[in-house]
Amino acid sequence: MNKKEKVMRRLEIPLKTDIISSLQAGDMVLISGEVYTARDVAHRRLYEALLKGEKLPIDLKAAVIFYAAPAPTPPGKIIGSIGPTTSYRMDFFTPKLIENGLKGMIGKGGRSAEIVAALKKYGAVYFGAIGGIAALTACCVKKVELVAYEDLGPEAIRKLTVIDFPAVVINDAHGNDLYLSAQNKWRIQSI
Protein backbone atom coordinates (compact mmCIF):
# COMPACT_ATOMS: atom_id res chain seq x y z
CA MET A 1 0.00 0.00 0.00
CA ASN A 2 1.14 3.47 -0.84
CA LYS A 3 2.46 5.01 2.38
CA LYS A 4 1.06 8.36 1.35
CA GLU A 5 -2.49 6.97 1.15
CA LYS A 6 -4.45 8.54 3.97
CA VAL A 7 -6.39 6.46 6.45
CA MET A 8 -9.94 7.58 7.12
CA ARG A 9 -10.39 8.78 10.66
CA ARG A 10 -13.76 8.34 12.40
CA LEU A 11 -15.21 11.39 14.17
CA GLU A 12 -18.19 11.54 16.51
CA ILE A 13 -20.34 14.65 17.00
CA PRO A 14 -20.19 16.53 19.37
CA LEU A 15 -16.55 17.15 18.51
CA LYS A 16 -14.40 17.28 21.64
CA THR A 17 -11.83 20.05 22.09
CA ASP A 18 -8.82 17.71 22.02
CA ILE A 19 -10.13 16.00 18.87
CA ILE A 20 -10.59 19.35 17.10
CA SER A 21 -7.12 20.40 18.07
CA SER A 22 -5.68 17.12 16.74
CA LEU A 23 -7.26 17.52 13.29
CA GLN A 24 -4.94 18.65 10.50
CA ALA A 25 -5.84 20.11 7.10
CA GLY A 26 -5.83 17.16 4.70
CA ASP A 27 -7.12 14.58 7.20
CA MET A 28 -9.77 12.33 5.65
CA VAL A 29 -12.62 11.78 8.08
CA LEU A 30 -15.90 9.88 8.43
CA ILE A 31 -18.34 11.93 10.49
CA SER A 32 -21.14 10.37 12.55
CA GLY A 33 -23.77 12.05 14.68
CA GLU A 34 -26.20 14.93 14.37
CA VAL A 35 -25.60 17.85 12.01
CA TYR A 36 -27.86 20.78 11.18
CA THR A 37 -28.49 21.89 7.61
CA ALA A 38 -28.43 25.66 7.17
CA ARG A 39 -27.53 27.89 4.26
CA ASP A 40 -28.05 31.43 3.03
CA VAL A 41 -31.33 32.67 4.51
CA ALA A 42 -31.16 30.45 7.60
CA HIS A 43 -27.75 31.99 8.34
CA ARG A 44 -29.12 35.49 8.08
CA ARG A 45 -31.91 34.58 10.50
CA LEU A 46 -29.57 32.93 13.02
CA TYR A 47 -27.22 35.90 12.80
CA GLU A 48 -29.97 38.47 13.30
CA ALA A 49 -31.41 36.49 16.21
CA LEU A 50 -27.96 36.50 17.86
CA LEU A 51 -27.61 40.25 17.35
CA LYS A 52 -31.01 40.80 18.98
CA GLY A 53 -30.16 38.42 21.81
CA GLU A 54 -33.06 36.13 20.91
CA LYS A 55 -33.12 32.42 21.64
CA LEU A 56 -32.02 30.37 18.63
CA PRO A 57 -34.13 27.48 17.32
CA ILE A 58 -31.02 25.27 17.52
CA ASP A 59 -28.35 24.88 20.18
CA LEU A 60 -25.07 26.08 18.64
CA LYS A 61 -22.97 24.73 21.48
CA ALA A 62 -20.55 22.21 19.96
CA ALA A 63 -22.83 22.04 16.90
CA VAL A 64 -21.87 21.13 13.35
CA ILE A 65 -23.61 22.88 10.46
CA PHE A 66 -23.85 21.31 7.02
CA TYR A 67 -24.28 23.92 4.27
CA ALA A 68 -26.94 22.06 2.36
CA ALA A 69 -30.53 21.98 1.18
CA PRO A 70 -31.77 18.58 0.07
CA ALA A 71 -33.92 17.69 -2.91
CA PRO A 72 -37.43 16.54 -1.84
CA THR A 73 -37.62 13.05 -0.34
CA PRO A 74 -39.00 10.54 -2.85
CA PRO A 75 -41.33 7.78 -1.57
CA GLY A 76 -39.47 5.01 0.23
CA LYS A 77 -36.32 7.09 0.85
CA ILE A 78 -35.02 8.72 4.04
CA ILE A 79 -33.96 11.87 2.20
CA GLY A 80 -33.59 13.16 -1.35
CA SER A 81 -30.23 13.89 -2.91
CA ILE A 82 -28.10 16.08 -0.68
CA GLY A 83 -24.63 17.57 -0.84
CA PRO A 84 -22.66 20.65 0.14
CA THR A 85 -23.33 24.12 -1.25
CA THR A 86 -20.55 26.71 -1.68
CA SER A 87 -19.44 27.96 1.72
CA TYR A 88 -18.09 31.49 1.09
CA ARG A 89 -21.65 32.85 1.00
CA MET A 90 -21.94 32.06 4.71
CA ASP A 91 -18.63 33.77 5.58
CA PHE A 92 -20.27 37.03 6.63
CA PHE A 93 -22.46 35.33 9.26
CA THR A 94 -20.12 32.56 10.39
CA PRO A 95 -17.73 34.28 12.86
CA LYS A 96 -20.72 35.24 15.01
CA LEU A 97 -21.93 31.63 15.01
CA ILE A 98 -18.45 30.37 15.91
CA GLU A 99 -18.29 32.88 18.78
CA ASN A 100 -21.51 31.33 20.02
CA GLY A 101 -20.31 27.76 20.11
CA LEU A 102 -20.36 26.39 16.56
CA LYS A 103 -17.51 23.87 16.30
CA GLY A 104 -17.74 22.46 12.80
CA MET A 105 -18.94 23.29 9.32
CA ILE A 106 -19.28 21.05 6.28
CA GLY A 107 -19.36 22.69 2.86
CA LYS A 108 -17.32 23.13 -0.29
CA GLY A 109 -14.98 25.85 -1.52
CA GLY A 110 -12.62 28.26 0.18
CA ARG A 111 -13.26 30.48 3.19
CA SER A 112 -12.24 34.03 4.01
CA ALA A 113 -9.32 35.06 6.22
CA GLU A 114 -11.88 36.03 8.91
CA ILE A 115 -13.14 32.44 9.06
CA VAL A 116 -9.63 30.99 9.23
CA ALA A 117 -8.88 33.38 12.12
CA ALA A 118 -12.13 32.52 13.94
CA LEU A 119 -11.42 28.78 13.63
CA LYS A 120 -8.03 29.36 15.22
CA LYS A 121 -9.30 31.65 17.98
CA TYR A 122 -12.24 29.51 19.08
CA GLY A 123 -10.95 26.05 18.17
CA ALA A 124 -13.28 24.99 15.37
CA VAL A 125 -12.87 23.23 12.03
CA TYR A 126 -14.12 23.50 8.44
CA PHE A 127 -14.66 20.25 6.56
CA GLY A 128 -15.01 19.94 2.80
CA ALA A 129 -17.33 17.44 1.18
CA ILE A 130 -17.40 16.67 -2.53
CA GLY A 131 -20.01 18.64 -4.43
CA GLY A 132 -22.22 17.07 -7.07
CA ILE A 133 -22.31 13.53 -5.67
CA ALA A 134 -25.59 14.02 -3.88
CA ALA A 135 -27.21 10.64 -4.59
CA LEU A 136 -24.17 9.00 -2.97
CA THR A 137 -24.04 11.43 -0.04
CA ALA A 138 -27.74 10.82 0.70
CA CYS A 139 -26.81 7.23 1.61
CA CYS A 140 -25.00 8.52 4.75
CA VAL A 141 -28.16 10.14 6.13
CA LYS A 142 -30.09 7.84 8.45
CA LYS A 143 -32.66 10.23 9.92
CA VAL A 144 -34.11 13.66 9.10
CA GLU A 145 -36.02 16.01 11.34
CA LEU A 146 -37.29 19.47 10.37
CA VAL A 147 -36.35 21.80 13.24
CA ALA A 148 -36.79 25.42 12.14
CA TYR A 149 -37.74 27.93 9.44
CA GLU A 150 -40.11 25.58 7.63
CA ASP A 151 -41.22 28.47 5.40
CA LEU A 152 -37.81 28.36 3.70
CA GLY A 153 -38.65 25.04 2.04
CA PRO A 154 -35.40 23.37 0.99
CA GLU A 155 -33.46 26.00 2.95
CA ALA A 156 -35.16 25.15 6.27
CA ILE A 157 -32.98 23.94 9.14
CA ARG A 158 -33.07 20.16 9.41
CA LYS A 159 -31.36 17.91 11.91
CA LEU A 160 -29.72 15.02 10.10
CA THR A 161 -28.35 11.92 11.73
CA VAL A 162 -25.41 10.86 9.59
CA ILE A 163 -23.21 7.80 9.74
CA ASP A 164 -19.73 7.74 8.21
CA PHE A 165 -20.22 10.93 6.23
CA PRO A 166 -16.99 11.31 4.20
CA ALA A 167 -15.23 14.67 4.40
CA VAL A 168 -11.77 16.15 4.46
CA VAL A 169 -10.39 18.79 6.80
CA ILE A 170 -9.93 21.95 4.71
CA ASN A 171 -9.25 24.52 7.45
CA ASP A 172 -8.04 23.20 10.78
CA ALA A 173 -7.84 25.08 14.08
CA HIS A 174 -4.20 25.96 13.44
CA GLY A 175 -4.56 28.21 10.40
CA ASN A 176 -3.84 25.63 7.69
CA ASP A 177 -5.75 25.53 4.40
CA LEU A 178 -5.86 22.34 2.33
CA TYR A 179 -7.17 24.00 -0.86
CA LEU A 180 -4.24 26.41 -0.90
CA SER A 181 -1.57 23.86 -0.08
CA ALA A 182 -2.95 21.24 -2.51
CA GLN A 183 -3.26 23.72 -5.34
CA ASN A 184 0.24 25.04 -4.71
CA LYS A 185 1.55 21.50 -4.78
CA TRP A 186 -0.08 20.65 -8.12
CA ARG A 187 0.28 24.01 -9.89
CA ILE A 188 2.60 24.02 -12.88
CA GLN A 189 4.33 27.38 -13.18
CA SER A 190 4.27 28.76 -16.69
CA ILE A 191 7.66 29.83 -18.02
Binding site: A71, P74, K108, G109, I130, G132, I133, Q183
Partner: protein, 283 residues
Protein backbone atom coordinates in the same frame (compact mmCIF):
# COMPACT_ATOMS: atom_id res chain seq x y z
CA UNK B 1 -49.98 26.24 -50.04
CA UNK B 2 -50.21 26.43 -46.26
CA UNK B 3 -47.13 24.72 -44.88
CA UNK B 4 -47.93 25.25 -41.21
CA UNK B 5 -47.65 22.30 -38.88
CA UNK B 6 -49.74 22.28 -35.74
CA UNK B 7 -48.12 21.37 -32.41
CA UNK B 8 -50.28 21.01 -29.33
CA UNK B 9 -49.02 23.00 -26.36
CA UNK B 10 -49.73 19.98 -24.15
CA UNK B 11 -47.05 18.04 -26.02
CA UNK B 12 -44.63 20.87 -25.27
CA UNK B 13 -45.49 20.71 -21.55
CA UNK B 14 -45.04 16.92 -21.48
CA UNK B 15 -41.72 17.13 -23.33
CA UNK B 16 -40.31 19.85 -21.08
CA UNK B 17 -41.33 17.85 -18.00
CA UNK B 18 -39.73 14.67 -19.30
CA UNK B 19 -36.49 16.40 -20.34
CA UNK B 20 -35.92 18.13 -16.99
CA UNK B 21 -36.52 14.95 -14.99
CA UNK B 22 -34.25 12.96 -17.29
CA UNK B 23 -31.51 15.61 -17.33
CA UNK B 24 -31.41 15.69 -13.53
CA UNK B 25 -31.19 11.92 -13.12
CA UNK B 26 -29.34 10.65 -16.14
CA UNK B 27 -25.90 12.18 -16.74
CA UNK B 28 -24.98 12.32 -20.43
CA UNK B 29 -22.66 9.65 -21.81
CA UNK B 30 -20.34 12.35 -23.15
CA UNK B 31 -19.78 13.64 -19.59
CA UNK B 32 -19.23 10.14 -18.22
CA UNK B 33 -16.69 9.33 -20.97
CA UNK B 34 -14.89 12.59 -20.29
CA UNK B 35 -14.79 11.83 -16.54
CA UNK B 36 -13.43 8.33 -17.22
CA UNK B 37 -10.76 9.82 -19.46
CA UNK B 38 -9.93 12.31 -16.69
CA UNK B 39 -9.65 9.43 -14.19
CA UNK B 40 -7.11 7.74 -16.45
CA UNK B 41 -5.04 10.93 -16.69
CA UNK B 42 -5.30 12.31 -13.14
CA UNK B 43 -2.05 11.89 -11.21
CA UNK B 44 -3.29 12.96 -7.78
CA UNK B 45 -4.53 9.97 -5.70
CA UNK B 46 -7.09 12.19 -3.95
CA UNK B 47 -8.16 13.61 -7.31
CA UNK B 48 -8.70 10.09 -8.64
CA UNK B 49 -10.81 9.22 -5.58
CA UNK B 50 -13.01 12.26 -6.24
CA UNK B 51 -13.45 11.30 -9.91
CA UNK B 52 -14.33 7.72 -8.95
CA UNK B 53 -17.01 9.00 -6.58
CA UNK B 54 -18.41 11.31 -9.24
CA UNK B 55 -18.69 8.40 -11.67
CA UNK B 56 -20.21 6.11 -8.98
CA UNK B 57 -22.71 8.81 -8.06
CA UNK B 58 -23.90 9.12 -11.68
CA UNK B 59 -24.57 5.37 -11.68
CA UNK B 60 -26.46 5.48 -8.35
CA UNK B 61 -28.54 8.45 -9.52
CA UNK B 62 -29.51 6.62 -12.69
CA UNK B 63 -30.33 3.38 -10.87
CA UNK B 64 -32.20 4.94 -7.93
CA UNK B 65 -33.81 7.68 -10.05
CA UNK B 66 -32.39 10.29 -7.67
CA UNK B 67 -31.06 13.67 -8.79
CA UNK B 68 -27.32 13.55 -9.52
CA UNK B 69 -26.96 16.77 -7.49
CA UNK B 70 -29.34 18.25 -4.93
CA UNK B 71 -29.07 21.54 -6.82
CA UNK B 72 -31.43 20.63 -9.64
CA UNK B 73 -30.90 24.08 -11.00
CA UNK B 74 -32.57 27.01 -12.56
CA UNK B 75 -34.58 25.68 -15.50
CA UNK B 76 -32.79 27.11 -18.55
CA UNK B 77 -34.30 26.32 -21.96
CA UNK B 78 -33.22 26.92 -25.51
CA UNK B 79 -36.16 26.67 -27.88
CA UNK B 80 -35.76 26.61 -31.65
CA UNK B 81 -39.12 27.09 -33.25
CA UNK B 82 -39.60 26.52 -36.97
CA UNK B 83 -41.32 29.44 -38.65
CA UNK B 84 -43.91 27.04 -40.09
CA UNK B 85 -44.98 25.80 -36.66
CA UNK B 86 -48.36 26.81 -35.34
CA UNK B 87 -48.80 26.17 -31.62
CA UNK B 88 -52.36 25.32 -30.65
CA UNK B 89 -54.11 24.77 -27.35
CA UNK B 90 -52.31 27.47 -25.38
CA UNK B 91 -49.46 29.91 -25.00
CA UNK B 92 -45.90 28.65 -25.67
CA UNK B 93 -44.27 30.20 -22.61
CA UNK B 94 -47.10 29.08 -20.34
CA UNK B 95 -46.78 25.53 -21.72
CA UNK B 96 -43.03 25.54 -20.99
CA UNK B 97 -43.50 26.93 -17.46
CA UNK B 98 -46.11 24.26 -16.76
CA UNK B 99 -43.67 21.58 -17.91
CA UNK B 100 -41.02 22.93 -15.54
CA UNK B 101 -43.55 23.11 -12.68
CA UNK B 102 -44.61 19.48 -13.22
CA UNK B 103 -41.03 18.23 -13.60
CA UNK B 104 -39.87 19.79 -10.33
CA UNK B 105 -43.01 18.74 -8.45
CA UNK B 106 -43.53 15.21 -9.76
CA UNK B 107 -39.83 14.46 -10.24
CA UNK B 108 -38.89 15.31 -6.63
CA UNK B 109 -36.50 17.98 -7.86
CA UNK B 110 -35.48 20.85 -5.60
CA UNK B 111 -37.23 24.16 -6.08
CA UNK B 112 -34.37 26.64 -6.11
CA UNK B 113 -35.94 29.84 -7.45
CA UNK B 114 -36.62 32.83 -5.21
CA UNK B 115 -37.35 36.54 -5.18
CA UNK B 116 -33.94 38.25 -5.41
CA UNK B 117 -34.65 40.70 -2.60
CA UNK B 118 -37.04 38.99 -0.18
CA UNK B 119 -35.45 35.57 -0.98
CA UNK B 120 -38.94 34.04 -0.82
CA UNK B 121 -39.06 30.76 -2.74
CA UNK B 122 -41.51 30.68 -5.69
CA UNK B 123 -42.23 27.06 -4.66
CA UNK B 124 -42.35 25.56 -8.15
CA UNK B 125 -38.95 26.43 -9.68
CA UNK B 126 -40.52 28.91 -12.09
CA UNK B 127 -40.01 31.24 -13.80
CA UNK B 128 -37.76 29.38 -16.20
CA UNK B 129 -35.07 31.13 -18.26
CA UNK B 130 -36.34 30.73 -21.82
CA UNK B 131 -34.31 31.60 -24.92
CA UNK B 132 -36.35 31.40 -28.13
CA UNK B 133 -34.95 31.38 -31.67
CA UNK B 134 -37.05 31.36 -34.82
CA UNK B 135 -35.53 29.02 -37.43
CA UNK B 136 -36.59 27.67 -40.83
CA UNK B 137 -38.76 24.55 -40.93
CA UNK B 138 -41.78 23.07 -39.20
CA UNK B 139 -40.18 21.45 -36.14
CA UNK B 140 -39.79 22.56 -32.55
CA UNK B 141 -36.51 21.80 -30.73
CA UNK B 142 -36.46 21.92 -26.96
CA UNK B 143 -33.18 21.89 -25.02
CA UNK B 144 -33.57 21.61 -21.25
CA UNK B 145 -30.57 22.64 -19.17
CA UNK B 146 -30.87 22.59 -15.38
CA UNK B 147 -28.12 25.00 -14.29
CA UNK B 148 -26.72 24.90 -10.77
CA UNK B 149 -26.13 28.08 -8.76
CA UNK B 150 -22.65 27.33 -7.46
CA UNK B 151 -21.02 27.25 -10.88
CA UNK B 152 -23.20 30.05 -12.26
CA UNK B 153 -21.97 32.28 -9.41
CA UNK B 154 -18.38 31.87 -10.62
CA UNK B 155 -19.26 33.10 -14.13
CA UNK B 156 -18.49 36.59 -15.42
CA UNK B 157 -18.55 38.93 -18.40
CA UNK B 158 -16.21 41.76 -19.30
CA UNK B 159 -16.06 44.35 -22.06
CA UNK B 160 -12.39 44.20 -23.05
CA UNK B 161 -10.72 46.70 -25.34
CA UNK B 162 -9.94 45.58 -28.89
CA UNK B 163 -6.27 46.07 -27.96
CA UNK B 164 -6.55 43.27 -25.41
CA UNK B 165 -6.99 40.75 -28.26
CA UNK B 166 -6.70 36.97 -27.91
CA UNK B 167 -4.20 37.26 -25.07
CA UNK B 168 -6.58 39.48 -23.10
CA UNK B 169 -9.38 36.98 -23.58
CA UNK B 170 -7.23 34.06 -22.48
CA UNK B 171 -5.98 35.91 -19.40
CA UNK B 172 -9.54 36.83 -18.42
CA UNK B 173 -10.80 33.25 -18.76
CA UNK B 174 -7.90 31.67 -16.85
CA UNK B 175 -8.14 34.32 -14.11
CA UNK B 176 -11.87 33.61 -13.61
CA UNK B 177 -11.24 29.88 -13.34
CA UNK B 178 -8.37 30.49 -10.92
CA UNK B 179 -10.49 32.75 -8.73
CA UNK B 180 -13.32 30.18 -8.76
CA UNK B 181 -10.99 27.52 -7.37
CA UNK B 182 -12.88 24.77 -5.57
CA UNK B 183 -16.18 26.68 -5.52
CA UNK B 184 -17.86 25.56 -8.77
CA UNK B 185 -17.32 21.79 -8.26
CA UNK B 186 -14.37 21.03 -10.52
CA UNK B 187 -13.56 19.44 -12.87
CA UNK B 188 -15.52 22.10 -14.69
CA UNK B 189 -16.49 22.80 -18.25
CA UNK B 190 -15.76 26.34 -19.35
CA UNK B 191 -18.14 27.99 -21.80
CA UNK B 192 -16.71 31.11 -23.43
CA UNK B 193 -18.63 33.61 -25.53
CA UNK B 194 -16.62 36.11 -27.55
CA UNK B 195 -18.10 39.06 -29.41
CA UNK B 196 -21.66 40.15 -30.05
CA UNK B 197 -22.86 42.53 -27.34
CA UNK B 198 -22.75 42.19 -23.56
CA UNK B 199 -25.83 39.96 -23.41
CA UNK B 200 -25.04 38.08 -26.61
CA UNK B 201 -21.60 37.11 -25.27
CA UNK B 202 -23.30 35.64 -22.18
CA UNK B 203 -25.80 33.66 -24.25
CA UNK B 204 -22.97 32.39 -26.49
CA UNK B 205 -21.03 31.26 -23.41
CA UNK B 206 -24.04 29.32 -22.17
CA UNK B 207 -24.76 27.82 -25.59
CA UNK B 208 -21.12 26.69 -25.77
CA UNK B 209 -21.88 24.43 -22.77
CA UNK B 210 -24.42 22.50 -24.84
CA UNK B 211 -21.76 21.01 -27.10
CA UNK B 212 -20.77 17.39 -26.32
CA UNK B 213 -17.99 17.67 -23.72
CA UNK B 214 -14.59 18.11 -25.33
CA UNK B 215 -15.84 18.42 -28.91
CA UNK B 216 -13.81 21.16 -30.60
CA UNK B 217 -15.37 24.15 -32.32
CA UNK B 218 -16.08 22.77 -35.80
CA UNK B 219 -16.55 26.08 -37.54
CA UNK B 220 -13.32 27.83 -36.71
CA UNK B 221 -9.88 26.27 -36.53
CA UNK B 222 -8.46 29.27 -34.72
CA UNK B 223 -11.08 28.95 -31.95
CA UNK B 224 -10.48 25.19 -31.72
CA UNK B 225 -6.80 26.00 -31.15
CA UNK B 226 -7.67 28.61 -28.52
CA UNK B 227 -9.86 26.04 -26.74
CA UNK B 228 -6.88 23.68 -26.54
CA UNK B 229 -4.52 26.36 -25.27
CA UNK B 230 -6.98 27.52 -22.63
CA UNK B 231 -7.64 23.97 -21.40
CA UNK B 232 -3.91 23.43 -21.15
CA UNK B 233 -3.40 26.66 -19.13
CA UNK B 234 -6.37 25.90 -16.85
CA UNK B 235 -5.11 22.41 -16.14
CA UNK B 236 -1.79 23.87 -14.99
CA UNK B 237 -3.58 25.73 -12.18
CA UNK B 238 -3.50 22.69 -9.89
CA UNK B 239 -7.11 23.07 -8.67
CA UNK B 240 -7.92 19.44 -9.46
CA UNK B 241 -11.08 17.37 -8.91
CA UNK B 242 -13.09 18.75 -6.00
CA UNK B 243 -10.49 21.52 -5.69
CA UNK B 244 -8.32 19.14 -3.67
CA UNK B 245 -5.36 19.47 -6.00
CA UNK B 246 -4.52 17.70 -9.22
CA UNK B 247 -4.06 17.84 -12.96
CA UNK B 248 -7.68 17.87 -14.09
CA UNK B 249 -9.31 21.17 -13.17
CA UNK B 250 -11.42 21.36 -16.33
CA UNK B 251 -12.74 18.69 -18.68
CA UNK B 252 -13.12 21.04 -21.62
CA UNK B 253 -13.21 24.63 -22.86
CA UNK B 254 -15.84 25.42 -25.48
CA UNK B 255 -15.76 28.77 -27.30
CA UNK B 256 -18.44 30.36 -29.48
CA UNK B 257 -17.94 33.66 -31.29
CA UNK B 258 -19.84 36.35 -33.20
CA UNK B 259 -18.76 39.66 -34.73
CA UNK B 260 -18.87 42.68 -32.43
CA UNK B 261 -18.73 46.50 -32.50
CA UNK B 262 -15.47 48.10 -33.68
CA UNK B 263 -15.09 49.67 -30.21
CA UNK B 264 -15.64 46.47 -28.23
CA UNK B 265 -14.35 43.04 -27.36
CA UNK B 266 -17.05 41.43 -25.20
CA UNK B 267 -16.10 38.19 -23.46
CA UNK B 268 -18.18 36.02 -21.17
CA UNK B 269 -17.22 32.96 -19.16
CA UNK B 270 -19.98 30.60 -18.10
CA UNK B 271 -18.71 27.96 -15.73
CA UNK B 272 -20.39 24.57 -15.61
CA UNK B 273 -19.80 22.09 -12.78
CA UNK B 274 -18.99 18.45 -13.54
CA UNK B 275 -22.72 17.68 -13.39
CA UNK B 276 -23.17 19.03 -16.92
CA UNK B 277 -26.83 18.38 -17.58
CA UNK B 278 -28.80 18.98 -20.74
CA UNK B 279 -31.30 16.93 -22.73
CA UNK B 280 -33.05 17.77 -25.95
CA UNK B 281 -35.88 16.62 -28.14
CA UNK B 282 -37.25 17.65 -31.48
CA UNK B 283 -41.03 17.62 -31.86
Amino acid sequence: MDKTRKIDSKLITETVKKLFIEANINLGQDVICSLQDALAREESPLGRQVLEKIIDNAEIARREKMPICQDTGLAVLFIEIGQDVHIIGGDLRAAIEEGVRQAYQDGFLRKSVCDPLTRKNTQDNTPAIIHIDIVPGDRLKIIAMPKGGGSENMSAAQMLTPAAGSEGIKNFVVEKVKQAGANPCPPIIVGVGIGGSLEEACVLAKKALLRPVGEANNNDEHLAQMEKELLNSINKLGIGPGGLGGRISALAVHIEMLPCHIASLPVAVNIQCHVARHKEEII
